[in-house]
């Protein structure tokens, strides 16, 4: 009877309409007392009414049930009963072998919505990522999407953080380490070299200038630079394996050896700082066992 309150004039066609009301935060849908062919719940409130059934999941979709032998109303056929975890795998486009780069344990429906950052991508490389449902170790169907990896600069990263060197980047002398033993027999002029060790890895060093947030603000803020230096040093000594990569295509999976050093430039009031780290390879970024050994395949 809102017409009496002046909502509209008495005696018009809608004057006896009931008051507006709403039910917020609906989180349960129940159906009964009919044969149901399909059910759709969507955020779209603009499309005109038609009897056409939806053909695909859209950005507005909330639920879609087709009752084709199941009660699934999400956008995958999997259910909590058929999932123990989700594996995210990656491979370079055109290659065959997949690398598991993340495994997500699934206990509730909320576990399946996640995002993560993959810092182990190489420069100028086409990748395919696969979403793989896993039930007690057995993998289900792969759902694959592609992406082109490209970046500018030199980065050092671990599973939690990635740091970009923006200026003064320099690699020190690099070594390819191998194990060679020398046996000096008494009755021979030349020694015998023994190379039956399998060691074969690189060591090197990297240095760069700390610029704070200069790339965004174009201001060399001394306090920011000091804070960034402190954070970077803690990052470098956190005992986690690191990725060093650049836009030349270099990529190494390393650990930081020796002590990171900071050198201060007195010509800039000591606020310009160069950090130098020495590193040693600990594995192949494209080898899943190596990645697992150093913690680059976390399970969450």
């Amino acid at each position: 009877m809102i017409g009496l309150l002046g909502y509209n004039f008495l005696l018009d066609g809608n004057s006896l309409d009931p008051s507006p009301t709403t039910i917020k935060n609906v989180d349960e849908v129940k159906i009964s007392n009919a044969e149901f062919d399909e059910l759709e719940l969507t955020k779209d409130v603009l499309s005109p009414f038609t009897t056409d059934m939806p053909t695909e999941w859209t950005n507005d979709s909330i639920m879609q049930a087709t009752f084709q032998g199941n009660l699934v109303a999400g956008n995958v056929l999997a259910t909590l009963d058929t999932l123990t975890s989700i594996r995210i795998k990656r491979r370079e486009f055109g290659t065959f072998n997949w690398l598991t780069i993340r495994e997500v344990m699934v206990n509730t429906v909320e576990d399946i919505i996640f995002t993560f950052v993959d810092v182990t991508n190489k420069y100028n490389t086409d990748y395919e990522y696969a979403w793989v449902p896993v039930l007690n170790g057995a993998e289900g169907e792969y759902t694959i999407v592609g992406v082109h990896s490209i970046f500018r600069g030199t980065f050092i990263a671990d599973m939690d953080s990635i740091y970009k060197f923006r200026a003064g980047v320099a690699y020190g002398q690099s070594q390819q380490v191998q194990q060679v033993g020398v046996f000096s027999p008494l009755n021979k002029k030349y020694p015998i070299y023994i190379t039956n060790g399998a060691l074969n890895y690189q060591t090197g060093s990297l240095s760069g200038t700390i610029l704070g947030n200069y790339e965004n603000t174009h201001i060399l803020n001394r306090q920011e630079m000091v804070a960034q230096k402190d954070a970077l040093l803690q990052f470098l000594v956190n005992k986690k394996a690191k990725i060093i990569k650049d836009d030349n295509g270099n990529i190494w999976m390393v650990c930081i050896i020796d002590n990171p050093t900071i050198s201060y430039n007195p010509n800039w009031g000591n606020n310009m700082m160069n950090v130098n780290v020495s590193y040693s390879e600990v594995g192949d970024i494209d080898n899943e066992d190596d990645r697992r050994n150093v913690g680059f395949v976390p399970t969450i």
Binding site: T22, K24, D37, E110, F114, T115, I300
Partner: protein, 359 residues
Amino acid sequence: MALTKPILFEATAFDVQDGYTFRYNVISGEQPTGATIYIFNNISGSLVYQYSVTSFRFEITIPSNSGLVNGVYYSAYITTKNAGGDESPQSNTIQFYCYTNPTWVFTNVSTGSIVEGSTFAPEISYQQIEDEPLMSYIINLYDTEQIQIATSGTKYTSSTTGSFIGSYTFGGFEDATSYYVKAIGQTLGGTILETEMILFTIRYVSPETYSQFIVTNNCDGGYITYTSNVVLIDGKSNPSPPTYIDNELVDLKQEDSWVVWDDGFQVSDNYTLKAWIKNPNIGRPLIKLTNPNGEFVEVYIYTDPNDEDKVFVELLVDNGKYVINTLPDSINKPTSTDELCIQIRCIDNIYQILMEGYE
């Protein structure tokens, strides 16, 4: 040289289950080889706990089974002793509370969350069962280098209870970029609270076509963001499993047979629900949408009282205050092979119900 009066440092509130390390200092005098702490109920003045340690370290760690009780206000002083067993004068007296560890968590963001928008207000929740108030908090925002890029600054709460919800709005987020957020709080008793670093990703440019997974290259950041858009909603039914007709329809015509979805989704805004059905039971509830308060929207089909060959659809919106029937025009009664399409549309507080039959 004799033992001098020790200085006992202030203690923050702590949970008796965790134990606590009291620290003190001694200036000049003889080298202490141990200390004894005396803890009193600050109201009654009675001695409730006494604990001695032998150590050159200027600290006394009381264990978790000390017998102290959470929610009680205590006072304490210490004495030190030397190798000969001589005792020093009493230290200064301090007061402190014991409180159960509070919960300190973000309520609207968790690791891996996707935030849609260029602004976002992380919400932090503080709950402490003995009503120790939260004095202040700070919410910090970090980039993927975990370098702080924004902060709320110190926010004082003026809260007087053990329950507090706070938030701070950050702006200027870039699309397809990941950030960390962390909250640091301090209770009135001085306890410092810290959340973990929570990684979340901003996404406010929706792709034109839907994908269950969004993989985005971040050129400046040097990383790839992988976002799972998978929606997992599985229904429950009675009977279980329900009866399917040619694997195309589910038959819920029998009394007490139903399907319900109650996990994995929430409708927080306007919506449209459409159902394609056959052979409805007249006058019985067909579709019911319910919220956590028990309020519901329900759909029925009735025979038109003025024409037995026609039916109409009714929408019932019941939030405890209003019951609303929306009665659009009747349509011809469907045959057993006809299909009905029913649409409920909710825009703000206005509901629309439509139904159309077709062969």
